[in-house]
């Protein structure tokens, strides 16, 4: 087949031109005649029907090279990664407020950046390709823009006012892309609205001739990393939540879920949970293990399905049929063996979190208390220790979550993120019960200390030997009382946080200190 021969012939030269991207040899698909390119998990596929349709108008090699230049530049320059893609989408959405329009605006913006970069930086036939592509609707405006900013005759023109405004955007300044896409979207908003309205009437979507930019372009690992970066970058929890809610269907369709990747469509994505999960991944806490008897070195204990992000070294090739595919590949879970004598180990941890009305609702705003709890919980889980959660507001009236010790991150996060509001009262019996389920676990408590039965809690902590890290917001009479009541206890560390924003730092810092050097706890 002619097109395949052309790809074979051009590929090494095109790779060299783009500084050797790590991409497989492009393939040919039957595809439609209106869309040139499809990208799925780094695999470029050129539509043969598109090629055949255009062959009469321009040289075959030029068509293939231009399409490859376009596809590779998406990979090498814009969007580059999933984080950039959703950041651009998020900015466009702020302008148009509609998912469909924001997706289109993002797609068009990335095409303009990509093609302009190619035209400026590389020897490419993209301009000739655009000259021969049909130009209607937004594509007509973009072609007029290209004429102006590339200085090429693409046989279009008009739309002077729009083009004047679009041509003032610094497309090749990566640092200004967020601001640029907002301006870009604002200018083409009118056309986008018309485009969507027309398609709703005719029930046919006009395709982007250079291909769509969906989540199909990214692997699960890239999506996971992108979401982690996005969670750290957004200013508000709501931004993250809105974007993830918008992409929920696509993410679930790809098999991405909050509890880990590769679990299939079964687990619905909880955007709030995912936010704290991804944000907490940015913090890691080393743990100095404590002398614990009957603990030893790790040994393979049982199999469980491999998920992207888990270490390859733990994969059991014999039961995985030699394949690295989430859901099929098996991984060894390891347990510490039993030995007699003093070996260092990590205790389990009971997380006690206050979710009364005086605490921030973690589903509405970023709660540093929840973030701190999740970070601490991660530190224990990473060392194969277990975590239990006691989430309370007015526990005596049933407003509580009691989650026993386990390794299931998603369940633990869900329990931590639960918000009740209302009054604050602990039930020490619940804590006693949870403590009895593990061998001398650590306790991590986050509260504003405005607990109605604070004296009971102080008495309770006075009686136990477990290590306790208590974190509270602000200073008040209750914190003073707690401090006074527990002052003599060597196993209790109290952290006084004046500013809410300090919580993650102080919790992390102090937890680290506490975990790495128990003697310096207080």
């Amino acid at each position: 087949m002619e097109i395949e021969d052309i790809i074979q012939k051009l590929w090494s030269g095109v790779r060299k031109k783009h500084l050797y991207p790590q991409l497989p040899l492009p393939t040919v698909i039957e595809g439609g005649e209106d869309v040139a390119l499809e990208i799925k998990s780094k695999q470029l596929a050129i539509s043969s029907a598109f090629y055949e349709k255009l062959k009469g108008k321009m040289d075959g090699e030029e068509i293939v090279e231009a399409v490859l230049d376009h596809g590779i530049t998406h990979y090498m320059y814009c969007p580059w990664d999933f984080h950039t893609h959703i950041t651009l989408y998020n900015e466009a959405k702020k302008v148009v407020r509609q998912k469909d329009q924001a997706q289109r605006a993002t797609s068009y913006f990335m095409d303009v950046v990509t093609d302009t970069y190619c035209v400026k930086e590389k020897d490419t036939k993209i301009a000739t390709l655009y000259k021969n592509l049909p130009k209607t609707g937004v594509h007509e405006v973009l072609a007029a823009l290209y004429e102006k900013i590339w200085g090429e005759d693409l046989g279009t023109g008009g739309h002077e006012e729009l083009v004047n405004r679009l041509s003032r955007i610094p497309y090749l300044e990566r640092k200004r892309w967020r601001e640029s896409i907002r301006k870009f979207t604002e200018v083409i908003q009118g056309i986008l609205e018309k485009e969507v309205a027309n398609e709703q009437q005719s029930s046919q979507r006009e395709p982007n001739p250079m291909g769509e930019h969906s989540l199909e372009n990214y692997s699960l690992e890239e999506i996971d990393r992108g979401l982690r970066e996005f969670a750290s970058a957004v200013e508000e929890l709501q931004e993250f939540k809105e974007t993830v809610e918008d992409l929920k269907e696509e993410l679930e369709g790809k098999g991405y879920s909050a509890g880990g990747m590769g679990r299939g469509k079964g687990n619905a994505i909880d955007a709030n949970l995912l936010y704290y999960m991804k944000l907490a991944e940015s913090y890691t806490l080393p743990i100095r293990k404590l002398p614990i008897e009957k603990r030893g070195y790790l040994h393979p204990h049982a199999h469980k399905p491999w998920e992207i992000g888990k270490p390859f070294a733990d994969i059991d090739l014999w039961t995985s049929f030699g394949k690295i595919i989430p859901g099929i590949t098996q991984i060894w879970t390891k347990r510490e063996g039993e030995t007699h004598g003093e070996f260092e180990g990590t205790p389990d941890c009971l997380i006690i979190i206050d979710s009364s009305g005086s605490m921030i609702n973690p589903r509405e705003k970023l709660s540093y208390a929840v973030l701190g709890a999740i970070c601490a919980c991660n530190a224990y889980l990473k060392h194969e220790s277990r975590a239990a959660v006691y989430n309370f507001s007015d526990a005596l009236r049933g407003n509580k979550v009691v989650l026993e010790f386990n390794h299931d991150k998603e369940r633990i996060y869900q329990a931590i993120c639960r918000y009740f509001g209302g009054g604050t009262a602990l039930d020490p019996d619940d804590i006693t019960y949870l403590l009895s389920c593990a061998k001398k676990p650590d306790i991590f408590i986050i509260t504003d200390m405005q607990i109605t039965n604070l004296e009971k809690l102080i008495d309770f902590f006075k009686k136990i030997e477990n290590r306790v890290t208590a974190v509270h917001l602000g200073t008040n009479v209750h914190t003073a009382r707690f401090k006074e009541g527990t002052e003599k206890r060597k196993n209790i560390s109290l952290f006084n946080v004046k500013n809410k924003e300090d919580i993650p730092k102080i919790v992390l810092g102090k937890v680290k200190e506490y975990l790495t050097s128990p003697s310096e706890g207080r």
């Binding site: 031109k17 400026k120 930086e121 590339w150 200085g151 003032r168 604002e186």
Partner: protein, 232 residues
């Protein structure tokens, strides 16, 4: 020894100048000139970062701004760019909405275009004094909300605000038309002697109006039997 990176040497390098580079360069140059003019105005008029909104100070600021931008070539897009620079950029030492509004008004009044559209809906600050002395044969459309003293001393132009305004809108306007799509604050049309002020939403309160017409939600509310012209 063979260079292991030889294959990368000059690979794909072409790098040519495209018209976009020139457009952006000229845009940056114009913006710096406009910014320099604004800084001059601040140096003269708001030395202590204080600017009192008085009849005489507005007139003085206007004439200083006019002198500062003599011979400057710019377009409506440059004015818009300046508005965003006021809001976001670290190029601006400080933003004082009064002189900024006077300066933008001067830019609009002396622009080549007869019709100027400023897309300011993403602006965090509400600029005061927009449309000051807008002359006849000029149409200024502002998308977004504006601050106090919008369209004061309007001199025959047409000012359309696709949002809301604050207090003293249209104060002292002589002729022309101001259209506000949404709401206005207190002292609307204070001291206006002519022209039309058309408000699509609600007006919190009228000022002492001498002449002209004021409409609120398609209803003529000045002059009416209840509200007569104010004569000093």
């Amino acid at each position: 020894m063979k260079n292991p990176f030889e294959a990368f040497h000059q690979a794909g390098a072409r790098k040519r100048e495209i018209p976009l580079d020139k457009i952006l360069k000229s845009k940056e140059e114009t913006l710096s000139k406009i910014l320099a003019g604004y800084e001059d105005l601040l140096k003269n008029e708001a030395k202590d970062l204080v600017w009192l909104m008085q009849y005489s100070t507005v007139i003085k600021a206007y004439s200083i701004a006019e002198k500062g931008m003599e011979g400057l070539e710019y377009t409506a897009e440059d004015i818009e760019e300046f508005c965003f620079a006021l809001d976001h950029s670290d190029q601006i030492p400080y933003l004082i909405t009064g002189p900024a509004g006077v300066y933008i008004s001067v830019l609009c009044n002396h622009a080549k275009e007869e019709e100027i559209c400023l897309h300011l809906q993403d602006l965090n600050v509400k600029i005061n004094l927009l449309g000051y002395r807008l002359p006849a044969n000029k149409k200024l459309i502002v998308e977004g909300n504006v601050g106090d003293f919008t369209g004061i001393g309007l001199d025959g132009g047409e000012l359309i605000i696709e949002g809301s305004g604050k207090n003293y809108t249209g104060a002292g306007m002589k002729r022309g038309k101001i259209v506000i799509r949404h709401n206005l604050g207190f002292n609307t049309g204070h001291g206006m002697t002519g022209g039309e002020l058309i408000v699509g939403g609600r007006i919190k309160g009228l000022g002492k109006i001498v002449g002209g017409k004021v409409y609120e939600r398609d209803q003529l509310i000045f002059p009416t039997d209840g509200i007569k012209p104010f004569y000093t």
